[in-house]
Homo-oligomer: 533 residues x 2
Amino acid sequence: MDFIAATYRLTCPGPEVERLSHDIALEQTVEVPDALIHSPALREAVVGRVISFSPVTNSPDRSTPGEQFDVRIDYPADLAVSGLASLLNLLYGNISLKQRIRLTDFQLPDSLLGAYRGPNLGVAGLRQSLGVHGRPLLATALKPRGSTAEQLASRAREFSAGGGDLVKDDHNLVDQSFDEFCHRIELCQRGVLEGSEITGRTCLYFPNLAGPAGELERRAEFLVKLGVRGVLIAPMIVGLDHVKHLADKYPLAMMAHPTFAGAFFHDETHGIEPGLMLGTLFRLAGCDATIYPNLGGRFAFTADECRQIDRHALQPLGNLRPAWPAPAGGMSYENLGQMATDCGQDSIFLIGGALLGDSADLRSSTARFLDRIVDLFPASTSSAPVTSEVVSACELPAARSVHRLLEHLRFVAGFRWDGREPIAYKTTEELPFRNVSRTELIGSTGEQTAFDLRYFEIGPGGHSSLEKHVHTHVVIGVRGTGTLVSGEKQIQVQPFDVAYVPPLRVHQLTNTSTEPFGFFCIVDHDRDRPQQP
Amino acid sequence: MDFIAATYRLTCPGPEVERLSHDIALEQTVEVPDALIHSPALREAVVGRVISFSPVTNSPDRSTPGEQFDVRIDYPADLAVSGLASLLNLLYGNISLKQRIRLTDFQLPDSLLGAYRGPNLGVAGLRQSLGVHGRPLLATALKPRGSTAEQLASRAREFSAGGGDLVKDDHNLVDQSFDEFCHRIELCQRGVLEGSEITGRTCLYFPNLAGPAGELERRAEFLVKLGVRGVLIAPMIVGLDHVKHLADKYPLAMMAHPTFAGAFFHDETHGIEPGLMLGTLFRLAGCDATIYPNLGGRFAFTADECRQIDRHALQPLGNLRPAWPAPAGGMSYENLGQMATDCGQDSIFLIGGALLGDSADLRSSTARFLDRIVDLFPASTSSAPVTSEVVSACELPAARSVHRLLEHLRFVAGFRWDGREPIAYKTTEELPFRNVSRTELIGSTGEQTAFDLRYFEIGPGGHSSLEKHVHTHVVIGVRGTGTLVSGEKQIQVQPFDVAYVPPLRVHQLTNTSTEPFGFFCIVDHDRDRPQQP
């Protein structure tokens, strides 16, 4: 049987530590008093086990609020098998409502860790996207709230033109409507690209993925389509497991903001250690970077706590990629040297006010800060960023769309629909598909559906690209006969046959007959881009 | 211009209160120092305004941790116009990372409050569903975790048979897979219904809506289909705005559990007042009931804090329905009288251990506790519960499902598919549809799709029910010809014609020909129930 090993620091009189420890083990698992557990099997499989408790010798620089004990409790791993939400609840759910219980550490068994995918890019992946190695990244925030989209885009362009690596939205910059969101993001993304054209280097823009919970996926989908590579997100506001869901579903790097998390940290006798939450838990949620209030800034973290966060972000954790520690605040041109010593090369220096206030010329200031960082890391290098994308006939945009929402699409001769033009592609030797046309029927013209309906036709000898993706396909045969290659399967698709392609299955549709092969393809409206097999 | 009035209690030396207040007003809005705000228009539209600060006279029973001040800060309402997540961030985002700042109150202007729908049922709605008036509700939890689904269902049945009003899952009861979730819920829901048949009264079952974030909507959809009227949910784990999204989307009552919220309460110099979070904020998120640890139980709330939560749950808040305070723990048969005095009739007595441990016969114990409550509220009454639902052939569950996920559904003679049986309904005079059969092709057997694909056939002279719903229909003609009546439109559907029915359009499909009319219907997997036109 596998266990989760949790360590709590209890502040209590010595004679009470044993009873309190057993109370925690019961509260977090069966939530009934010991006397009501009649089944030994239940006790064995469910109830937490107090493994040890040892008194803490407080270091003299800590104000000791009373006697303290480190208590280790082992929980059966099955209790957290339904995901990150259940893990949070198990480790610190009901006992958060008690007093003087601090979660200081936990270890997951491999059987649980294997279910977490972790950061999409992590340290190495983001370096590859940027082509930057051997030094910290220089990042800033688009400030202040209340600026126009044009003003923010201009700041993004100047930072990018000065050689900055990464610019994010302010975490409180939230657009009211989807349209405003799209408008602002398009401008800022364009600003960053314009700056990159000047430097010949990559600068990434991470917009704030915020807004009504029911609209986050639509916003994420828009960002992925626009070519945005990552976002800023607030896990304690959005919900940690919701962030994990978004990270798992979309090919976006997640930069976590600690807003609303502070009530867990301020009292050293209760809550959760900051490294454990902002480092380990956020990494389990798929965060590629974790912002924390740096020593000397406007907030109250100590040097020990800052290094603890760095450590949890970077240290081995199953097969999960390391995440970037991103100290923010308290940084100036003058203390970049100290920051370099404290944080090392694998960190994101998130410099807001000090950079914006450095001079009236953001481009020059950015270049000056970047030069200083490069000087501090003489072995750092730049290389061309690496990208790879599949060219898929299923997703290539139409040259121009003249379509509008129609409630009746009449089927007419030649397997066409009134009011809808097929999109056909020139076929060349280099392209991975051949002889394919697509007609968008439902979903791309403003219908309120969670799915899109398209009609595809593959001419004799033609084929779609060999690809895979997280979203599924449902295919309904309409005209002629074709073959769906789906993993090891070869499915002959006849008219009205229905076929299903599961997530991440490598697949291709081919037509080896002498007649056209036509089929409906239904896909989720919000879907990921095709990947190489 | 509208403002959100927030009140914070600061614990600090008197000479610092003014500076600290202005720091908060900046931190929560522009997040830059005052010196960097160059635009008077920006200052006017965005920056928080310190309205007043007054010293607190602490009551002698409170341990005074230092000098305290109540500070009122007004924020422009526009800053929280994009929803509950932005409101949380504005009121207590970054400053949660500071020290000795307690959010003690806030008031929203009507312009913002109007955007919140609040509880779906609230106090009056839940009373109507139960037919119980003039007394507190008797509720219990299915315990302990580790019990089999059959054991839990048996407890649900006994509690219902004893006359209990509401039984919920334990908040740590989370099913690993969707199938396990469905299996357990079906058993428990059946248990409650069996108990209700004995008493002739209604008992409601609120399952724990928990699991991976990406699967919550699918689980909610299943519950709605099963006829479940409400759920238990943990807002601080799921995310407060995510709960609001679920409450807005599904016709379910939300009973909020306070797990993982405690770090905001334990230190009276920091965090958020429990009434404000568990009462007001949870109500804004659409919670119909709010569970809190009762005085005398295993947790640390004071009598003042308990009454504060009651007050926030019930007091006027725009047009939002009042929510049920649900004290839990610390209750016994003996102190029901005291509870009645303290909490009044509009509360849910959530009695777990004391009821389960009362005797070996849960049915008798429930009856004994209920009798005592009825005695304490002699004016209480019971009446028949009120319900209203459309009977729709599109959504009626199959008598039994023998289907499983298949990657190839071969089309065979007679407009059928290998591996799929049509569901045909007996037609009677009372039913609002006639001569309809349905074949579930994709989406009801575990496919990872955001949509369902069904084949319907309407015999000569048949028709579907006249109905409307928020979800849309996409219809593709397959066999014969029929008519789609869609609002004022009459659309003749021929084979391969595609038709779209927009949200809330009143519609009906009819067959006036002498041949069968068959069509594919694609709908969102997560969808609302049909309503009367």
